[in-house]
């Protein structure tokens, strides 16, 4: 087994991490790849602690201050590290019980996105909770880091929701573009999807070459001996995809993500974010 092909599961200390672990174990097992849990401890050196507003400086103030700040940081980091370790080990047990073979854990200091960008190199698949610790209290429906993480990474990302069910039926949201054709190729070639029922769905505006593109996708998938259901439903893509996912009991959605610039997303919203919101099944996002 090659370290460069690991499944990287990003977890934080929330109950969503359990489902990340389940899906990551499922993927690692099917792909025969090692699994690694990554917990990023976000330090905030830019936030001061400041209780001393006396404004007085005296002999050795600089040395004392440096010592005191280092000490505070040390205590905080140590506690975080210990908590993180216990929690990661629990997830490791869970993944091992679920059948993953080689499971590693790792804690890193730093900011989430930049740490993931560093770690992405050795990963083949990244598993991410669609919501995290802050959702436990705020109840928001999509984590605040998700878009930023997805935008800055280049490997396939599996975003999971809060329930685990081994996927049986996958749906490719297909529009004939480069990234969705890659999705078809990936599904055709990856052991992750072998033996699963594949739906290819095309929607949106009426297009002349839709049938041809769909046919190509079907041929690619069938040549690998997969069960393919290809269909074309004109109409609003978001509604139709969400509708189809429910009607056909699809349990994994595959789509291209965030192909437009952040500015455009800011002004018009993002189809990816909308879909992540409206569909309740895990999604594999390709960049």
């Amino acid at each position: 087994m090659n370290q460069e092909n690991k499944v990287l599961a990003c977890v934080d200390q929330s109950h969503f991490a359990d489902f990340v672990a389940d899906y990551a174990a499922w993927a690692a097992q099917r792909m025969d790849a090692p699994l690694e849990f990554l917990h990023v401890i976000d330090r905030h050196p830019e936030i001061g602690s400041g209780k001393d507003h006396s404004g007085a400086i005296g002999i050795d103030t600089q040395e004392t201050l440096l010592q005191q700040l280092t000490e505070e940081e040390k205590v905080r980091t140590k506690a975080e590290r210990e908590r993180g370790r216990v929690f990661l080990n629990r997830l490791r047990e869970r993944a091992l019980a679920a059948g993953a073979e080689s499971v590693d854990v790792r804690q890193r200091h730093g900011e989430l996105v930049s740490t993931l960008v560093e770690q992405e190199r050795d990963a083949r698949l990244i598993v991410l909770g669609r919501r995290g610790a802050s959702a436990e209290s705020s109840g928001r429906d999509i984590g605040r880091h998700v878009e930023r993480v997805v935008r800055s990474l280049h490997k396939p990302i599996l975003t999971v929701t809060d329930a685990f069910k081994p996927p049986q039926r996958v749906l490719i949201a297909f529009d004939g573009s480069g990234v969705t054709r890659r999705a078809v190729d990936l599904v055709a070639s990856s052991p992750l999807f072998s033996g699963l029922e594949v739906h290819v769905l095309m929607s949106g505006k009426t297009r002349a070459d839709a049938d041809k593109k769909l046919q190509e996708a079907r041929t690619t998938l069938e040549s690998r001996g997969m069960d393919v259901v290809a269909s074309y439903v004109p109409g609003d893509a978001e509604t139709i995809i969400a509708q189809t996912v429910r009607d056909r009991a699809v349990d994994l959605l595959i789509m291209g993500a965030y192909s437009h610039s952040p500015l455009r997303t800011f002004m018009f919203g993002s189809k990816t974010t909308d879909l992540l919101r409206s569909s309740t099944v895990p999604s594999l996002l390709l960049r």
Partner: protein, 491 residues
């Protein structure tokens, strides 16, 4: 976007609070340094406002405090005395221009030649100079001034034991001012020292003749101020980097100091730079972001413009107490404890830096001395790494000298002296393949050795010169090519 938010708004409450604390600590300094420079207090106050406000946006080290400083004030005394205020404003603008140029050229990297000892010496010298600048306020004055100063120091250091929520220097100033007014004491006050600001600063270009003569007057002062300002700013930035465990952008800081000084000159302020003492106070009070610097500048201006009438009543003794506190806080007391333990050369560099500054009142000269001295000491140390061994061969007809180590200007003399020219011998072989010839001095020393042997009719063979002189990296320019390390370390 992410970093703007992080630099400005990640620590709002602490930044605002510490900014206010720093603003209060800036007032006495700005006043005191104006008095050192021989200008009206409002020049220093405007400078403190504009430096802090501009550097909050342009600086490369969030959380660092810049304002009018003592190091800069000392350099402008003569200029102000001989040519007046407008020339000072022009020099301030030129200082900013030079700092931007230095930053743009990437000279911030040269800071690596400034050793730890020089930096310690700089801080100590600064502390001594700040302290000495207070002495005129303590000579030929009524005894009440001494009493007030002592009382002020007592409040500053003892008040934090009661509460740390209120800046004790401010408490000292308020208490001493109230005492002088209530008791009707006749002691010098800030109002006696010159005009205080009564309005917001206005943007004006300095009124000076734009010709070569003017440039001749202001350029030397501006250059010294640019260098000293950047040095103190870089040092303070490093200090804050250590405190907060975050990196800073030194080049941006250089450019930012430049912009801040240009704006300050045009707003009628004196040149400034980062301040060690105030920056320490800021970090101590929890300030980390740019907002703390901006708050300090804005609050300072509001205070002095609207409370100007009261500021004039502050007795000088209160300011002296605050400045003595700053000088105690800036001085590196550990360096005195370490004098005995540290290598003598390091201590000598530190002491020389301090001595030159105290003698000349010019921090730039002190740092230059320190840097040169550390260079000398280093060359001397490396020059010790030279061994010449010899062994007679061929029944005493030939002698082989084996040279190992560093041959350069500081060790060339020793290199020559290790050969025995009076020995009666047919042939000499000099094996230099395990030596490094660093410069022309080394090569000519070898030439000299060869000539001397020839005069004694001794035949000379040099082995491995190519390998040895490969270290003259300038000539062969191997230092920037692949394999340079192998070449240098192989013999």
């Amino acid at each position: 976007m992410q970093s703007i938010r992080q630099d400005w708004f990640s620590n709002v409450r602490n930044d605002l609070l510490s900014g206010i604390v720093v603003a209060l600590a800036l007032i006495p300094e700005a006043l005191a340094f104006s008095i050192i420079a021989g200008v009206d207090p409002k020049v220093g106050l405007y400078a403190a406002f504009s430096m802090a406000t501009v550097i909050a946006f342009t600086g490369g080290r969030p959380g660092m405090i810049s304002a009018a400083t003592g190091a800069m004030a000392l350099l402008m005394i003569t200029l102000v005395k001989q040519h007046g205020l407008q020339y000072l404003f022009a020099a301030t603008v030129l200082t900013g221009g030079l700092q931007m140029l230095i930053g743009w050229l990437g000279f911030a990297k040269l800071m690596r030649f400034v050793s730890r000892s020089v930096i310690t010496g700089f801080a100590n010298a600064l502390a001594i100079v700040i302290f000495m600048a207070q002495l005129p306020e303590l000579i030929h004055v009524p005894w009440t001034v001494y009493a007030l100063t002592a009382g002020g120091l007592g409040i500053i250091y003892l008040f934090p034991y009661i509460t740390k929520a209120v800046p004790s220097p401010l408490v000292a100033i308020v208490v001493l001012t109230a005492l002088t007014v209530l008791l009707g004491l006749h002691v010098p006050t800030v109002g006696d020292k010159g005009q205080l600001p009564d309005s917001l600063p206005i943007f004006l270009l300095p009124q000076i003749p734009l010709n070569l003569h003017t440039l001749q007057i202001i350029f030397p002062v501006s250059l010294a101020m640019a260098v000293v300002g950047l040095l103190e700013s870089m040092m303070t930035a490093t200090l804050i980097d250590d405190f907060t465990d975050t990196p800073s952008n030194k080049q941006r800081e250089c450019m930012g100091q430049g912009v801040a000084n240009i704006v300050t000159g045009c707003l009628g302020g004196m040149a400034g730079c980062a301040m060690i003492g105030q920056s320490v106070i800021n970090v101590k009070s929890g300030g980390r972001g740019r907002l703390s610097t901006l708050t300090a500048g804005v609050v300072l201006l509001i205070l002095v413009v609207f409370l100007g009438r009261w500021v004039a009543q502050i007795p000088m003794a209160a300011l002296v107490a605050v400045m003595i506190m700053v000088s105690i806080g800036t001085f590196n007391w550990g360096s005195i404890r370490n004098l005995r333990e540290h290598p003598k050369s390091s201590s000598a560099v530190m002491l020389a830096t301090v001595a030159v500054v105290v003698a000349t009142d010019n921090l730039a000269l002190g740092v230059l001395t320190g840097v040169l001295l550390s260079g000398f000491f280093f060359a001397h140390k490396v020059g010790q790494i030279l061994r010449v061994r010899s062994v007679a061969e061929d029944e005493g007809r030939m002698r082989t000298y084996t040279v190992t180590g560093q041959v350069f200007f500081a060790s060339a003399e020793r290199f020559i002296a290790s050969f025995d020219f009076k020995e009666v011998i047919d042939k000499v072989r000099i094996d230099v393949s395990r030596a490094h010839f660093w410069d022309i001095t080394a090569v000519s020393a070898l030439d000299k050795v060869i000539l001397k042997f020839r005069r004694e009719a001794t035949e000379v063979e040099v082995v491995g010169l190519n390998a040895a002189s490969a270290t003259m990296v300038d000539k062969f320019a191997v230092h920037d090519k692949d394999g340079a390390e192998d070449l240098l370390m192989s013999h």
